[in-house]
Symmetry: C2
Subunit: 458 residues, 2 copies
């Protein structure tokens, strides 16, 4: 929260605490609904309905649609049927659907009972699309025009129907529900009143659209690539079903980035914010990967055990294990995370896998050689000269060759595994640092002991 808003928020909260509800009105009516929704998060449960009823009527439903689902539920439980019906009527259809998806069944039933039949039908229609599909993000409230309308008629329709539409700035030209083109209000404003819509519309051939069952990734990529304000969602016959607006795409973009980041950190994604997630829920999101990776790491331990003989003969080798495993994990993590992000943004395509490997191989060679030389100098200058550890030349060479090979193998695995995961239908993001690190730990040890057995007199 910005400082200024934080100050007003604290003022509001203290007034609520003192029960001075009437002095709240002037403060509240100047605020942005999104900020008010955030302030309400900090109210006590019993203060919530009282506070909500102070909000000016035209502001109240907007604030409501910005609130987190848990607060919405609390409020709905305090609403009379009439209050509930009024809020639902004022909300945009897609916001209502988003809310319904988060509510327990009993609340859903009450919401639907207090929605008028036409809207209820539309809500049910929207609810049938799979979560994370383009269809689940869309709204049915868009302005549609006909080709043979004049600009004047188009404006008349926008004025008549626009109040309830989420966006009026892109209008969809349809013919028996088939999308034949789009026309923006800017196009309309800059044209003469007598011009036909068909003359100024962008033909449907060059209109970007998305199928209702496509993943929401496709929606986000279209918005970011084509700089859109709204994206039409169509069925297989190119009939327009609804539109996704840019504000919803922005939210999805943030959610997707968060999900990817969580997966990369070996966390099962959640769409709740940090403090909204309970201790045991957080545990359930974090434990499975920790457990899996812990078990995998015991194999690495097994490798050490099986080379106990070599380690007994050259005990100094043990001291380099963390450095070799750590560097391998980091090098592999760098590669995998770069590839995962490139795949997510569409910068890297599946068919480019060989180019990826070729690039990672060359980067790994440069990095590996540089690290091996740095490691060698460090052993000679710091460990031996200053610390007097007494690492032999052959032992140093063993460590440095292992370093080079580990970096190469790690970078190639890091570059390859996300692509393989995607081809097999898994999410590439799980192939990030924690997974690569655990895998590379084992591989780097195998390389280490193999190199040692070749170079050192066993």
């Amino acid at each position: 929260m910005q400082e200024e808003i934080r100050k007003t928020a604290d003022e509001i909260l203290s007034l609520v605490g003192e029960g001075k509800l009437s002095s709240l009105r002037p403060l509240v009516s100047e605020m942005n609904p999104a900020d008010l929704a955030e302030i309400m998060e900090e109210l006590k449960e019993n203060e919530l309905p009282l506070f909500y009823r102070i909000l000016p009527k035209e502001l109240a439903s907007e604030v409501f649609s910005y609130m987190e689902p848990d607060l919405q539920e609390l409020l709905i439980r305090s609403f009379s049927d009439r209050e509930l019906a009024a809020v639902i009527k004022d909300m945009y259809l897609d916001d209502t659907v988003d809310m319904i998806e988060e509510m327990p069944a009993s609340v859903v039933v009450r919401i639907l009972q207090n929605t008028d039949p036409a809207a209820r039908k539309q809500i049910n229609e929207l609810l049938q699309y799979p979560q994370d599909s383009a269809g689940s993000l869309m709204t049915l409230e868009y302005v549609s025009l006909r080709e043979d309308m004049t600009v004047e008629e188009a404006f008349a329709r926008i004025r008549r129907e626009g109040v309830d539409k989420e966006t009026v700035y892109t209008c969809y030209v349809t013919n028996r529900r088939r999308l034949v083109g789009i026309v923006t209000v800017k196009d309309l404003l800059l044209a003469d009143y007598e011009t036909k819509v068909s003359e100024i519309m962008t033909d449907s051939d060059s209109v970007i659209s998305v199928g209702a069952y496509e993943d929401r990734d496709a929606v986000v990529q279209a918005f970011s690539k084509y700089d859109l304000m709204a994206l039409p969602v169509v069925d297989k016959e190119d009939r327009i079903l609804g539109i996704v607006t840019v504000d919803d795409a922005v939210d999805v973009m943030e959610e997707e980035a968060t999900e990817d980041i969580e997966k990369m950190a070996a966390i099962i994604p959640t769409d709740k914010s940090y403090f909204k997630t309970g201790i045991f829920e957080t545990f359930r999101k974090r434990f499975p990967w920790l457990m899996l990776l812990m078990v995998s790491a015991t194999f690495t331990g097994g490798i050490i055990t099986s080379f106990e003989g070599a380690l007994g003969k050259f005990p100094v080798l043990v001291a380099f294990i963390p450095m070799l495993m750590g560097t391998g994990g980091n090098a592999g993590g760098q590669a995998s995370v770069t590839i995962i992000r490139g795949l997510a943004l569409g910068e890297i395509e599946m068919r480019q896998v060989l180019r990826v490997i070729w690039k990672e191989l060359r980067v790994a060679l440069v990095c590996g050689v540089a690290l091996a030389i740095a490691g060698f100098l460090k052993i000679i200058l710091i460990d031996n000269l200053i610390m007097g550890t007494g690492v032999s030349m052959l032992e140093s060479v063993t460590v440095c060759i292992t370093m080079l090979l580990t970096v190469i193998v790690s970078k190639i695995f890091g570059g390859l595994l996300p692509v393989v995961a995607k081809r097999m239908g898994f999410d590439p993001a799980v192939m990030a640092s924690p997974f690569i690190t655990t895998l590379v730990d084992a591989i780097s040890l195998l390389i280490y002991f193999t190199v040692a057995s070749l170079i050192l007199p066993m």
Copy 2:
């Protein structure tokens, strides 16, 4: 690229290869400029200017503004002065500025020479804002209205000036350049022609704006929180300097997420895409962290060396090192990445650091106990019963207590360090898995050997 577009792209590329430029026109004119820009990436250097000249004139400059800087530079070098002037004239001011920021000095001079004086003055004005500031993202091309205008007069001005403006849908009501309110085209469309703008505008008190020198993070957070189409940028006296449009905010949002992800993977961020970054540039982005973390990891090795005595007496302890270090790193990485993302999205605020620690402590207790028990069972049932490793009861207890303590310490460090980094003015994202892992590696070993020396008969 979508399959359908990929097919057209391949067709276009093969026609270019065969030199059949004239048969390209119908194919090209149906395509979206963003796709054409992407296809041009795949052309040979000498084909590029030829292809560009085939594009219909009204499409050409739009395609140009979607192209990557390296291709833009190639094209500019092939342009005559007149061609260059025409392209610059058609581009939006903020796109021109973005392009100039990426060009070598000689090209910049040529661009400015071929820009008309008024636009040149504006470009120079925009170029003075620091990179990554709100000012550097804005455009000066917005529609401004006066309070005393009627809706009819407002529409007249939009029609007159709107052609060159990036967005006409939010208009800014100013009084001697001070922002007094905003009015949307939707508001205007739904009002009577005689209504005064002052009656339907949103008062500047509730208008969200951002200072020109604020970080672009603030821009992104405003767009995502308040569902905006455009955000006015103001100076200290609340005078409007320009606006940021949502399509640019979307691009920044993606760039910021990518940057954070790269930092979390111990990579120095770059704004070039994967294949555009050369081998040595990729090396320079990855090597510094690898080197730093490698050197840090040698301390961990030093800890092992200093406990060589204990390890000699209980050699089985070595086999558990990877599991303990790995789990500690993963547990700490989960916490730090969650906190870093929460800070970036504004879900977690600096003053909530104690709440973060308290939550991480409890999650760590649950995770730690569960992992310790799982580890104990695994040692007893698998290692001893099935594999016959012969880990003693005291050794098992040592491992499990270390596991619990390591998870607790890791999660607290993971929760704390991003917040500390932010308070000290560093980017919290560098406190992610690789850094935490390296730190936790050392800490977990210290805990391990301390616990061992307390429990085992040394």
